[in-house]
Amino acid sequence: MAANLRVVRALGMRSIRQTFRRPQLMAPIVVFPTLLLAVQTGGAGSAVDLPGFPPVQGFLQFMLAGAMMQSLMLAGNSGGIAFAVDIEMGFTDRLFAAPIPRFTIVLGRLAGTAALGLFSALWFLAIGLLFGAEIHSGVAGALIAVVLVTATAMAVGGIGAAIALRSGSASVVQGLFPLVLVVLFLSSAFFPLDLMIQPAKAIAEYNPFSFIAEGVRNPIIADIDATDLLYALLSIAGIVVLGLVLSARALRHRLKVG
């Protein structure tokens, strides 16, 4: 157990260092969501005057959760790309040959993705506070948002890792980038569900990322709501289970094909 934890920690530290050293992995996680946050807040900020828009201090406060969601999804994607690069370069093969449990290889990578999620949550909270957005539920609310974002990044990273293991190709994982946008636009990450247009609204109602977005947003714009939090946690658990199943199957496939 202790030895496994040491392996996870060592691989996790490697993936964290790798990510922060490569600007091409960091840039999409920080630059694009920040840019989109700025232009959406500035461009669609008048939306808070629409009838039915939830009471918020401003559109920036509402949009923080959306930016975090976008960033964590890209973090998951970037984690998958880095994992696929390791596979392409033969590093993962050397790990497979080492006397360590296979799951630690995936967990080590996910630790790096979780660190990115944590960074993204802190980054956007800082941006929000810097530009005048309040965290309605205070420190506790901010902590909930940080935990949910970090956990979701890790969960999404599990799916990215599974695709990396299955395909063994960084370009395939990179090609999933547009899907990230599709999933987010078909959720309530960027706009209140009730004000979305069909058919996006109908899909967003059942999209687990809508529940996570609401869970992250709730403590930022209102008092902590246990129901929103529970739905968010259940959604994350669902994505974790999906990621685990896919990763286990992909790992078996990778060991078979080499």
């Binding site: 600007p23 461009g43 939306a47 960027f190 247009i197």
Partner: protein
């Protein structure tokens, strides 16, 4: 070789540009999948923005009936931005692979080499633009009329040229595909810090100030005319002037970087 040497200079330059454009076309024909991200991204943005922000038309001061009509030229120009920036990424790949070194030792003038990349991007940008337009029409975007469509496509082609100059300058400066996020983000910022989401009066004050000085606002307004009303010369020429200015500045920068690379 002898035949090429016998060509007048202007014809040799045209032949070189045509050859570089043919190379770009061949890339597209041989790896059609490479064009998919450039087509998908603006299409997803178009569908996503409609689904998410479509209710903005209920705001006072939003004079357009359908948000699809308002946002379709933005997505077409965004596609142009992506395509132009992708030309920069491809150039960076060619620098990494040594292909550009071989071009630079050829007797072709530097501006001819740049023109090949830029014109290829302009032509390629018509693909995502047409795809987005074809999706937008059945979803409720208004028919812009032949004149409106012509102006929109003119803006799309020129915007792709601007983006290709930007991407090429960065590729030549950094000589690495790692600069790709900067190429894409720069174009995204240029297109979205305009009246992309809402009319000028409804933008937040800071964005209104930026949009007023961002030349691409004039480009978007010119491209949008036919979709939301009538096409007029006063609505068109500021867009042409803005694109001409951007091309001049970014083209000069890209050329300077190319000369620096050759040294």
């Amino acid at each position: 070789m002898g035949r090429a040497a016998a060509l007048p200079e202007w014809r040799a330059n045209l032949a070189t540009i045509a050859a570089l454009m043919a190379r770009s076309r061949n890339e597209l024909l041989r790896v059609p999948g490479a064009a998919i991200p450039g087509v998908l991204a603006p299409t997803i943005f178009f569908l996503g923005l409609n689904g998410v922000f479509g209710a903005l038309t209920q705001l006072n001061g939003f004079e357009v009936g359908a948000y699809e009509s308002f946002v379709v030229p933005v997505s077409m120009l965004q596609g142009a931005g992506f395509t132009g920036a992708a030309a920069g990424v491809n150039l960076a790949r060619d620098i990494e692979g040594g292909w550009v070194d071989r071009l630079l030792v050829s007797p072709a003038p530097r501006w001819v080499l740049l023109a090949g990349t830029v014109l290829s991007a302009s032509t390629r940008a018509l693909i995502p633009a047409t795809f987005v337009f074809a999706i937008a029409l059945p979803l409720g975007a208004g028919w812009p009329g032949i004149d409106g469509l012509f102006v929109t496509y003119l803006m799309v082609a020129a915007m792709a040229a601007v983006a290709a100059c930007w991407g090429s300058a960065l590729a030549l400066r950094f000589k690495s595909q790692s600069a790709a996020p900067l190429m894409q983000a720069g174009m995204m910022a240029l297109v979205f810090t305009t009246t992309a989401y809402a009319p000028l009066a409804l933008l937040q004050p800071w964005l209104r100030t930026v949009a007023e000085v961002n030349p691409v606002t004039e480009v978007i307004e010119a491209a949008r005319q036919g979709f939301v009303g009538a096409v007029t010369w006063p609505g068109t020429w500021p867009g042409i002037v803005a694109l001409f200015g951007l091309l001049l500045v970014l083209g000069a920068w890209a050329l300077r970087e190319m000369r620096r690379t050759a040294r």
